[in-house]
Amino acid sequence: MPELILTPHLADPDGVFEALMNAHRDLPPDASRRLDAKLVLLLANHIGDAEIVKQAIALASAPA
């Protein structure tokens, strides 16, 4: 079964974080929320594997 990657996998983590923050910078809360939803949907489709997406949902939903 495929496994969600939980080891570092981004070549430029700071650059990805910066791009996310820039996208949200001037948005009111509802537009910000919609942006995140679009991102999740785009990335989920790119991944294409529902099991991986569900593993990510479970991990994100677990108490910290």
Binding site: D30, R33, R34, A37, K38, V40, L41
Partner: protein, 510 residues
Amino acid sequence: MPYHPPRYPHHPPTDHGARHPVIIVGGGMVGLATALDLAQRNIPVVLLDDDDTVSIGSRAICHAKRSLEYLSRLGLGDALLAKGVTWNTGRVFAGENQVFAFDLQQEAGHEFPAFINLQQYHLEELLVQACQSAGVDLRWKHRVTHATPDGTLTIETPHGPTTLHADWLLAADGARSEIRRSLNLPFVGKVFQDRFLIADVTMQAPFPAERWFWFDPPFHPGGSVLLHRQADNVWRIDFQLGWNADPEEEKRPENVRPRVQAMLGPNTAFELEWVSVYTFRCRRLENFRHNRILFLGDAAHQVSPFGARGGNGGLQDADNLAWKLAAVLNGNAPETLLDTYDAERIPAADENILNSTRSTDFITPKNEAAHAYRAAILELAAHHPFARPLVNSGRLSRPATYLNSPLNTPDDATWQAGPPPGTPAPDAPTDEGWLLRRLPPTFCALSFGPAPALGLPTLTLPPQGPAATRYGASAGDLYFLRPDHHIAARWHRPTPAQVAAAHRRALCQS
């Protein structure tokens, strides 16, 4: 031209305390179809209905291909095609813009379209006429007020009370089933916190015969709207109102008319045929068979209307149950065959409930996150094909496939193509008409090339051509079909003994 419902004659009961082999309670489309199917199998049927007419109001309109194939087998196919509005295309709009369109009939070479739209009252009129011709004992104005687990019915009529006993009692008495209540059976599930205004409107309008669904249109901001064309220039319009709407206020004509006029524009004249306000539920009985009482249609399971899964699911119940009950009553099968009604129709009901629940959850977002995701999907879908399958305005009724049915004989060889056991037999054109029209409503065989002598009605088709392609078949291949035209088994060059064994298995004889 307003619809004038027929009034059927009702008579004083004369057989107080009589016992009948089969009593069906409920003369809606599911009860009537079951009665007709049984009568055509020479089973005497008494049908009790609490009214003396057809279903009035905004009921089922979208009849799916599989229902049409079933009703065609019962003899109503030509009348339905002539009277109904054929459609295959759906469109989804968000705000002022079309997001995408979809075609539900993906391939040519089937007699029936993906759907026809026809008011339930028209279908029921056809079924009543056919039931009368087939000798069904239709008893109007017979209201069942109590049923016992052994099939004793307490009945009120305008002529006084009466009692009947049923060897087999079929409860097709709808979402508010009195039989279900008498037996104290839990009917649990989910209520959706939303209200919908359903208006049937008569008008001359330029919309095509398609399913149109709007999210947040300019003429009804913040809600969804669904539009369907029916026969006689009647249109079904479905406005989402929200949970806080007042049903009594909303269905007053002076409040409905401005909503419809805003949608149609100021120059379209229309008349309101029927208006109601609904809250939707998804729920089912734990079991549909309770010894010799069997539940069908809305009495057994209830769904929201997005997806047309209520009426079409109910007709598949009728199709599944009628031949099995006839086989038991004729002594051809043990009563355990009726356990397979549960085994096949409960998963089918669950599939309908799952799809209907998901659609209703998309149409009625429960919280801010659900709103945000829906808005995100609709925005993305306008530009990117990947997001269109995420838009859920209703997943339209598909025939159930009984892939795990105990009545199937599993494949004993590899098949590269064609429908596996449990699947409804697909239609195809043949040199002598549509394939499904050529099959009898009994156990039968479909042979590609010459078949061995089976002692079974056998339709022999050429091993090349559209039907052979659709069935993935070549010379010597044989499909064995149940009376409801679900595939029970298939082989490459079977022996008569293999076919006989599959026949016994499909009747629970082994």
